[in-house]
Symmetry: C3
Amino acid sequence: MAESTNMRLRLPLLCIILEVILIILFGALVEYNDDTHAKLWNANKSHSATRDDYENEFYYRYPSFQDVHVMIFVGFGFLMTFLQRYGFSSVGFNFLIAAFSLQWATLMQGFFHGMHHGKIHVGVTSMINADFCTGSVLISFGAVLGKTSPVQLLVMAIFEVTLFAVNEFILLSMLGANDAGGSMTIHTFGAYFGLMVTRVLYRPNLDKSKHRNSSVYHSDLFAMIGTIYLWMFWPSFNSAITNYGDPQHRTALNTYYSLAACTLATFAFSALVNPEGKLDMVHIQNAALAGGVAVGTAGEMMLTPFGSMIVGFLAGTISVLGYKYLTPVLESKLKIQDTCGIHNLHGMPGVLGAVVGAVTSALASPGVYGDGLQRVFADAETGKWNPQSRGGFQAISLAVTLGMALFGGLVTGFILKLPIYGAPPDTHCFEDGLYWEELVPPIWHLPFSNRPESGMTNSSEVYPFFPHKNDSKWVSGSVCSLKACLYGESASL
Amino acid sequence: MAESTNMRLRLPLLCIILEVILIILFGALVEYNDDTHAKLWNANKSHSATRDDYENEFYYRYPSFQDVHVMIFVGFGFLMTFLQRYGFSSVGFNFLIAAFSLQWATLMQGFFHGMHHGKIHVGVTSMINADFCTGSVLISFGAVLGKTSPVQLLVMAIFEVTLFAVNEFILLSMLGANDAGGSMTIHTFGAYFGLMVTRVLYRPNLDKSKHRNSSVYHSDLFAMIGTIYLWMFWPSFNSAITNYGDPQHRTALNTYYSLAACTLATFAFSALVNPEGKLDMVHIQNAALAGGVAVGTAGEMMLTPFGSMIVGFLAGTISVLGYKYLTPVLESKLKIQDTCGIHNLHGMPGVLGAVVGAVTSALASPGVYGDGLQRVFADAETGKWNPQSRGGFQAISLAVTLGMALFGGLVTGFILKLPIYGAPPDTHCFEDGLYWEELVPPIWHLPFSNRPESGMTNSSEVYPFFPHKNDSKWVSGSVCSLKACLYGESASL
Amino acid sequence: MAESTNMRLRLPLLCIILEVILIILFGALVEYNDDTHAKLWNANKSHSATRDDYENEFYYRYPSFQDVHVMIFVGFGFLMTFLQRYGFSSVGFNFLIAAFSLQWATLMQGFFHGMHHGKIHVGVTSMINADFCTGSVLISFGAVLGKTSPVQLLVMAIFEVTLFAVNEFILLSMLGANDAGGSMTIHTFGAYFGLMVTRVLYRPNLDKSKHRNSSVYHSDLFAMIGTIYLWMFWPSFNSAITNYGDPQHRTALNTYYSLAACTLATFAFSALVNPEGKLDMVHIQNAALAGGVAVGTAGEMMLTPFGSMIVGFLAGTISVLGYKYLTPVLESKLKIQDTCGIHNLHGMPGVLGAVVGAVTSALASPGVYGDGLQRVFADAETGKWNPQSRGGFQAISLAVTLGMALFGGLVTGFILKLPIYGAPPDTHCFEDGLYWEELVPPIWHLPFSNRPESGMTNSSEVYPFFPHKNDSKWVSGSVCSLKACLYGESASL
């Protein structure tokens, strides 16, 4: 017998407990940093003749932060609205788990690499980092989209954010890796974590919901809102936390060209792999973004526009081919049901980005970077810098990330498998009706003079949705005829 | 007999007269300020060795302005598209009255607190303030949405903008209140003004249009575009006109955490108040934003992330409970028909924000703020500063705002009640067809090979909309069957 | 017999060849500029005691760039989604040709006015300029929307970008014209180029597709996303590449007021020209933007808000009147089929903007501009400045632009007429189905309990779209009844 999907107690309890814990921990641990604290900022200012309010980091990071913020909430949220009956959940659960994750990430990232005398200092840079970590959770969300309850998603976020912070600490602080745009920390980690979770949660009978696991005309247009915002703001994403000056400027430029080249590759291969030469919205919505993922590590380096375009072109190509040829195999052979195809958008391009980053690091030289070398490679300042070993550490970082993601996803997947979270049954995946209030039928496409002007009081009377008492009048006559209209059965009138 | 709703002369005449008056007043009164005037900016520059073009306020305010601008036009505009048949009017009339209000606000705000030798000086700060004032009008629009003609809305804007400027002058200039994010001046004022207007315009027979006063699937997704943009950019809104440096940075940070906590509260209580534990789109679209409203006053103070999260959590909670339990009572007992529930999103959270601001002001001390005290509380600089009296003035400001809003709404409501504006009849509220050109029926969901490839010349031939001559062919047969399809009546075929 | 529209080889081949050529040319010619190159930026820095990383042009141009970027990809892309069956192509082909054009424009603009010792230097300013050039191509796209294949559009972009760069070089470098917001270089050029192309591609039998050449309810709402983003960010567009300081600030301010006045004119005249006083979505979506076009040249000058509002009001007026009275005449008399009405949004307002720019230049004086004169008019610095001759050169620039655009469009039009690009037949214009993968029918509006839970495997089985084998079951029974539902024919059940 099927587990109840009722969220009445589960979701409120979890949300309230989590938020109360967050508030208590913030109260105990979190403080304004030097740029946001009234006393500290003004005290520092008076000690320095040249420092003024215009030099607050707010003015140099906040526009990037807002672009990243748009990617997290509009970009990821709307990208997943492509499903015909899962728009509310896509944008709504994206909203919920992002709002939770950014708070939890502030604590976890602060704990691992932002403690000052036992306190976590916050400002615009910690906001960007928290949004980055959130992005990783949302990537994993893409793999399990439509097959998980909001309670499962919150539980996944708890574990994934924690492991993200650990992995980020190992890479950036222990291995000294470069990964400003997160090819490894965000994309590779989020993708393989999510793929492992969806593997553990494998549903052999998911084809019972397959007629809902596809798009309709307008849902694809909503998804394009997400795509375009991700595409436009990716230069801001990759450059948001680089060093000031030339690295930030260069990263934005490299990402811009990588994405442009990736887009042409995407259109080319999307038409090429289709027997009739028709473009596939799934490719355009996703593969065109792979160019941003693939320069996430090397974008701040002297990759040149030329190099960026080659990387972008390759990323778009492998992403389209992945959607066409690899995703079906992953499902049929490896039992990995990847709703959004995150392996093609974040997984493979993330690994590509890590490799490109390792190679570009290994090729770096003072001749090319001049005095700017230490602004990209922190250890160049300490004199310990060695391009070959740097490339090696970058490669080790990729291996660590893959290991952490797969192991973390495995454990988290088994935790999410417990039958206590109200997961949807196989027959009702990809269906907003499980978790969202009844919807009323549209009347606007009826001619005005023929609309029912009375006789309806509320939605439940006229539109008996999921488990409801008097379905009978729907079954007889009218709906059958509409069903017949759409699906070619003979009408029962 | 019903008043004509024809806008042919009314709307053009009003728009043209208003714009001509605006142009004349701008010609007589408005001048570039020191940062936008070619002569003044360059003259000031040459007097100062350290000032250069990079210090123009454009570079420190304009990104915030653009975020606010997006909230006004996309945020408010799309938030109101949730109605199934009122999307054109929501986003269109929002556009019209915002474009008018920002011009009129420039004059009114300039008149009350921006005159320099008889001239109003304009620049990016006046643009932000004009957008803020516009926001207040759009909040009131939410209360009367679907029940007013565009002419009524423009008339409402004339009065509301004027009173907004008076109230703002009393609060900021006379009482010396702090309200950078406008918990009082924008949200409380706009909400109670709008609620009083809709009270005066009470329609006892509005249930004749109730089947249109609800959402459909895709209209809710359009509304989420508005929600998410408001949510993302609220940190920019609250911080847009604070002092430079730590106050601006801190305000953005506090708002970010308040909104995140508010979102978890919203999801928790939305599921909790529903018998089946299902989430309600109305709550997610609106209540999740209350956290931004509630830190509008205290956001620039040393509220701490901890305090911000508590305020945000409270705001989300009271907002959801308001939608569930208070709005029906307001309509049935107090005859307040509040289409968008602005009392829950702007009214109560605005009052909460004012109270939080008063308390936080009263608790301010040099020990916490250091030299930064005078950057938040202007009177700290003059030496007249006293935290308790400051808290008192904040509380008085709330009372003044409520009084101005209710009185102004009362007078404006009676002016809008005159039967000369083409208001919609009770039977045709929430209906775009009254004010917008005929719409054609969609053909895209028909299979290509079955679409009518000929025989239609223009929309009026195939889609007889509102008052039209030959409705007969629609009544017989086909439409009845579609109506039957959707509403469960037996088809007449 | 009709030409094949299959894109299987044509589109991939063209995309791949173009991208390979771009990559090779970028490798040979493009270098980081002083602000993006690690070595150069840090070398320059160490020579100057006062220069620091905060002065990198990234921080003063990048927020404007991102606003322009949003206009190009979201603004233009979604503005064109108004067609009921062409949303994928509108936003998709917009994406494709923009991604190509910005790369090609980097090379062409660099070749004509950005060469340094044989290399093209790139940074945020070149990114803005490339986006500007792309905007011109997208304007022309609006004229041929729905009637061209993606291959044709790419070929058009190759020629248009090249000629744009030549015309821009003549205007800005040879004639020394001012045109920061591109009234001439972008809008006038793009409009008349596109109008000439569509004239040459005239389709006498386009009325075979006219039932698809119109909007539906939700497609108009998607288009409003485009409109509002263009409207909001136009101040950033016009000011993106002016000089720093007062010119940039002033341009944004002037554009803001011009657009506000234009919006009131648009609503006024839209209602006035309709017999029933109803507003037309086409006008609101387009004409309200004409105010931004019309201050593209004079916006950086001392036009004053007063002058800006007059120009904006005029622009909105002529644009609405153009849609109502001129567009039908252009089609019937001059055989110009202008899908989006670019003549009304970009053509006439562009010419108006050029004239306003010439007059405002001719009236400029040191008395008004002071030391700021040379920051707006470059030749004022050299001492050769003469306001009357400046006005004359501006007028000559308009004439040159019109000549280049018409000639270029003529040649390009004939090239596009070759029957090798897979252009759609007259019967299938404005139809996504030609170039995009099959779509599945929506099921979400069926009550949950009546949805087909099984029996469908993939889209092609249940939704035989364009050229397909077994259409028969659709013709009989069910679809006829839905068609009957919507079009008032008697049902065949």
